[in-house]
């Protein structure tokens, strides 16, 4: 078992899962992300790191790097 760390979604490995902890910055796309279901508490799985595709609630969402660096997720890591 590793310990829980908070990292930008960008840094998840392929197939790695994390729980969204927060979306940083008061930037304008946040409302959109939240409506699309990317809210704190949701589990996301990184399907493809480059380009970024995540799975949330069984749908696939493509994200740009800018935005993926602002979504923070908690994940278990062995450090």
């Amino acid at each position: 078992m590793g310990r829980s760390v908070e990292v930008p979604l960008l840094f998840l490995g392929p197939g790695e899962k994390g729980i969204i902890s927060r979306i940083v910055g008061g930037f304008c796309a946040r409302a959109r992300l939240e409506e699309m279901g990317l809210t704190p508490g949701k589990e996301v799985e990184l399907l493809s790191p480059n380009p970024i595709i995540v799975s949330v609630d069984g749908v696939r969402i493509a994200l740009g790097y800018g935005i993926a660096s602002k979504i923070l997720v908690r994940t278990r890591r062995r450090i």
């Binding site: 927060r22 979306i23 304008c28 796309a29 946040r30 409302a31 959109r32 992300l33 939240e34 409506e35 699309m36 279901g37 809210t39 704190p40 508490g41 949701k42 399907l47 493809s48 480059n50 380009p51 595709i53 609630d57 069984g58 749908v59 696939r60 969402i61 493509a62 994200l63 740009g64 800018g66 935005i67």
Partner: protein, 663 residues
């Protein structure tokens, strides 16, 4: 039958929920398209008659909710819903994913709208899910319908439920969601605002809905309440570690989760996604993505232009025969043979290409590939300040600018759409090819390929520069970050595809056709004034115009009236440039004439001019139609004219400067 009256219905739903299919099923061909006021987003309206009512359906843009102010689509939808106040809103949801899709209807229900919930894609949902829609209808207090828009199942029922919702209008109390730890603050603020306002006003205020905040500002002690709301937001953020928007959205999703658990039962698992993910791992692959995209574009081209070409030629020939067969002579004959028929011809020769293009695009959209293509190309297009989706119309522009501009319909953001439309004319369309072929074979024999390539590249480079420039000039600060749902791959539904193709093609015929046709007739008139001159000769009005503008072309190296007239006619259609030169130099043969009149340098500058100057009327017409603005149209015409002139002059002058010492 006697009409009982009108019912105004708005159709809302996520992108890819099947909204378009539902809309097409409801209204059939009784629809028309326009633009939302002030913006370049497509607005579709249609109607159907049912049980004595005439039901007018407005298709709202695909949206996820009403909170995101940066999304133009959500602004449009919200403005329409609050200002036009439709009688019924049908929310189309993808029932294979209720957890996400119910967010929009729940948000609308909270605001007290009169809803019908359409559980679409029910055919797919049934494979792994049992939905108790009666129970769902009972809990939410609204009619719920199950549909499969691809086959038409449930559409009759939907119509019935729309009437039902209209006749027993729900009270506008709104759905009450328990916001848990926010309830105390909500209660307090509600008392301040006044209990006579619905509760959602307070919730929306906490979510920083600007419209609601403005409304509150206008209240008697508005300024005070606004301060209180701010204080309340700060308290919540400090206390719970999240701002109120986030907590509210989370609670809504929480409510939905509970709701879905109550009304659904899973049976088995879906395997649809596994396959879809597998396809994605190839199609969006970092290395394969772009080659696959290139291949898809290549085939699109082949289909649209190779398959459409022969049909276009047949149409063209039919028109040539037709104009040759017009009996009689005199002005009526001439108007028909030289004005009306070529005008119709200019419209109809595009038809096969356009219909095929829409067919392919619709298939690409419906299958789910379009979203991937946009995603794959996003990084490259970003360097131009454009969205990945713009790449498809731009590439199609190499075939013909007209369908390419129509293809920008698939772009959601106004900025992307306008920028793309503005630079598409720089993509050298196939109609300009004959000019390049003629001139490069006369002046650069053996090097035609290099010349051609240089012209295409010039167009692309200019597109990058112009897009960047327009972006910084007109759209400062508007950045649309990439967040895009990738719908699962689907087999496109033949009937749906055909309907959609037909609707789009017909629109082209009706709207662009009118303009193309009128300009053709106008040019004919100019070519025949004053009365009795030889058509389009030196003495005709158009010849005179050519003469008067030719001095302007002098610095570019082709300051003779024939060049000017052929370029003028080229505005009609770029194919016409070579043909016009042919007519004007009729007696001595075209190749000899141009090798006498032009030098290699002025020939190259003429080709640059042909590449860049004013898009043809058909293109101008669709630019006007698609941007819904004379200002953008005027800008497209003027920047291309100016840019074409500057570059051809530059090339000619710089070239002459370096040439002279050698001679």
């Amino acid at each position: 039958m006697e009409e009982k009256g009108f019912i105004r219905v708005a159709l809302a739903g996520h992108p890819n929920s099947g909204k378009t299919s539902v809309f097409n099923r409801l209204t059939g061909s009784k629809q028309h398209t326009g633009n939302w006021p002030g913006v370049t987003v497509e607005k579709k309206e249609g109607y159907f008659s049912y049980m004595g009512y005439k039901v007018i359906v407005t298709d709202l843009p695909g949206i996820y909710g009403l909170s995101s102010a940066y999304s133009i689509d959500e602004r449009i939808a919200k403005t329409f819903l609050t200002e036009e106040n439709p009688d019924v809103i049908v929310v189309v949801v993808d029932s294979t994913n209720l957890d996400r899709n119910l967010y929009l209807p729940i948000q609308l229900l909270e605001m007290g709208f009169n809803l019908v919930l359409d559980l679409n894609m029910i055919d797919e949902a049934r494979k792994f899910l049992k939905i108790n829609s009666t129970e769902l209808s009972r809990i939410l207090g609204i009619p719920v319908v199950e549909t499969a828009a691809n086959t038409g199942e449930g559409i009759e029922d939907l119509k019935k439920k729309i009437i039902e919702a209209f006749e027993k209008r729900r009270g506008d109390k709104g759905l009450k969601i328990d916001y848990g730890r926010l309830e105390d603050e909500i209660e307090r603020l509600w008392n301040l605002v006044g209990r006579e306002y619905p509760r959602w006003v307070v919730i929306r205020a906490l979510e920083e809905d600007q419209d609601v905040l403005n409304m509150i500002k206008g209240l008697e002690n508005g300024a005070e309440i606004i301060e209180e709301i701010k204080a309340s937001r700060d308290r919540i953020t400090r206390k719970f570690g999240f701002d109120p928007e986030t907590i509210i959205v989370e609670r809504r999703f929480g409510y939905i989760k509970g709701l879905v658990r109550r009304v659904t039962e899973r049976k088995g698992t879906e395997d649809r996604l596994a396959l879809s993910d597998k396809i994605d791992s190839i199609v969006t692959n970092r290395i394969l993505g772009i080659p696959i995209f290139t291949l898809v574009m290549f085939f699109t081209f082949e289909i649209v232009f190779k398959l459409g070409g022969p049909i276009s030629e047949l149409i063209d020939e039919a028109f040539i025969t037709l104009s040759g067969r017009i009996p009689g002579e005199g002005p009526i004959h001439s108007l028909l043979a030289e004005g009306v028929i070529p005008g119709l011809r200019a419209v109809l020769v595009f038809l096969p290409n356009i219909a095929l293009l829409f067919l392919v695009i619709t298939i690409l959209e419906d299958s789910g590939y379009m979203a991937r293509a946009a995603f794959v190309m996003d990084k490259i297009m970003h360097t131009m300040g454009l969205h990945g989706k713009s790449s498809i119309p731009m590439i199609l522009g190499f075939g013909c600018n007209v369908p390419a501009i129509m293809a920008t319909r698939t772009l959601e953001s106004e900025k992307d759409r306008i920028l793309t439309i503005m630079v598409i004319p720089l993509m050298s369309c196939s109609a300009r090819l004959p000019i390049y072929v003629l001139f490069s074979s006369v002046f650069f024999p053996g090097k035609e390929g290099v010349v051609l390539f240089s012209l295409y590249m010039l167009g692309i480079v200019l597109a990058v520069v112009v897009a960047k420039l327009l972006d910084t000039l007109f759209f400062k600060g508007e950045v649309a970050p990439l967040v895009m749902e990738l719908p699962p791959y689907r087999m496109p539904n033949l009937r749906g595809v055909l309907i959609q193709t037909w609707i789009r093609t017909e629109l082209f015929l009706r709207k662009a056709g009118m303009i193309i046709f009128s300009v053709s007739v106008l040019v004919w008139i100019l070519g025949n004034i004053p009365f009795g001159v030889e058509y389009a000769s030196e003495d005709s009005l158009i010849g005179k115009i050519g003469k008067s503008i030719s001095p302007l072309l002098e610095p570019a190296g082709f300051g003779f009236w024939q060049a000017a007239v052929s370029l003028l006619f080229g505005i009609l259609a770029k194919e016409v440039v070579v043909g016009t030169l042919g007519t004007l130099y009729g007696r001595e043969g075209l190749r000899e004439a141009i090798s006498r009149e032009f030098t290699p340098l002025s020939a190259y500058s003429f080709m640059i001019m042909s590449l860049i100057y004013i898009p043809c009327v058909a293109t101008v017409a669709v630019i006007r139609r698609e941007t819904n603005s004379w200002r953008w149209t005027a800008l497209a015409i003027s920047y291309s004219l100016l840019l074409g002139w500057i570059l051809s002059v530059l090339v000619y002058q710089v070239g002459s400067f370096f040439n002279e010492p050698i001679n």
